[in-house]
């Protein structure tokens, strides 16, 4: 069972209170982009064993989207943070580094 702290409500929300919304920090490629970029934006997703960044929605609660950093292998949650950002806050990165030295994910490490 996965329990994530909603950064808006401050409550520890059970997985069944939430809805998974896929990979976090996607860069949108819309009109004007190449076919390859658009293809990758639509279909290419990371599927790591280990550190992962995801979007979640507190669907039975406040209804807001937020981001979560967690380990897909152990379900350890490194933290949750606002979705209004382009990269994870330094505090989250530091927490991950302490638990998983040498981690990398996309452009982040």
């Amino acid at each position: 069972m996965l329990t994530l702290n909603c950064p808006y409500c401050g409550v520890n929300a059970d997985e069944t209170d939430l809805h998974g919304e896929g990979e976090a920090h996607l860069k949108r490629h819309g009109p004007g982009s190449s076919d390859d970029e658009f293809h990758d934006y639509l279909f290419q997703r990371q599927n790591p064993k280990g550190v992962h960044f995801e979007r979640w929605r507190h669907i039975y609660g406040c209804g807001k989207f937020f981001h979560a950093a967690r380990c897909t292998a152990t379900l350890q949650v490194f933290g949750t943070y606002s979705a209004q950002t382009l990269e994870p806050p330094q505090a989250i990165k530091d927490t991950i580094t302490a638990a998983r030295p040498g981690w990398s994910w996309g452009d982040f490490s």
């Binding site: 409500c9 059970d14 069944t16 039975y60 406040c62």
Partner: protein
């Protein structure tokens, strides 16, 4: 105009923990910038209750204010006063970016009353309802069984539950069944 009728017309499931439909209840959803002083004072003016903090509900008799999300407040007033309360809010927030809408008849209000009402709620909601973490004044939006709901504690033995009108029957029967099942003795 037709008369307003509550979803379950005052149904009661008596027992050690009684599940009772609350009847007609005026509910206004107010969306906007919750940090705005005018919005806060308008909420206070129509209910007499203090403006709630994150995850809290404040009460003044049968009136209440509840924190629904970072940009939404639920206002409870008597059913007959709903239109007047919205008019008051509209006047106070004129020119602001906000939404005040009467949702009284879209929802149902159910009370769960009795010594182990806490356990009845805990059977249906994925929420830590231990007395050390959930107390009168705390407000939570979550699910009850399979449907969305919100609840808060009026006092140590009473929960107030709000759900959509279309699932009022399901919510009422689920709560009544959980109450009939008896205490667990966990808390």
């Amino acid at each position: 105009m037709s008369n307003a009728v509550s979803a379950l017309q005052g149904a009661v499931a008596p027992g050690e923990v009684t599940v009772r439909e609350g009847g007609l209840q005026g509910m206004i959803t107010l969306r906007g910038d919750l940090s705005h002083a005018k919005l806060k004072s308008a909420c206070k003016a129509v209910t007499g209750a203090a403006f709630p903090a994150v995850g809290q509900a404040t009460m003044n008799g049968d009136n209440a204010l509840a924190w629904m999300s970072p940009d939404e407040i639920l206002i409870l007033v008597p059913h007959t006063d709903t239109a007047a309360a919205i008019a008051k809010i509209d006047k106070a927030l004129k020119g602001q970016h906000y939404l005040a809408e009467n949702l009284s008849d879209a929802r149902a209000l159910i009370f769960v009353e009795g010594t182990y009402s806490r356990e009845v709620m805990a059977k249906l909601a994925p929420v830590d309802l231990h007395p050390s973490t959930f107390q009168p004044g705390d407000f939570r939006r979550t699910r009850l069984g399979q449907v969305a709901a919100a609840f808060w504690m009026k006092d140590d033995d009473t929960f107030a539950v709000i759900c959509f009108r279309s699932v009022a029957d399901y919510t009422f029967k689920s709560l009544a069944a959980a109450a009939k099942g008896g205490a667990v003795g966990h808390f």
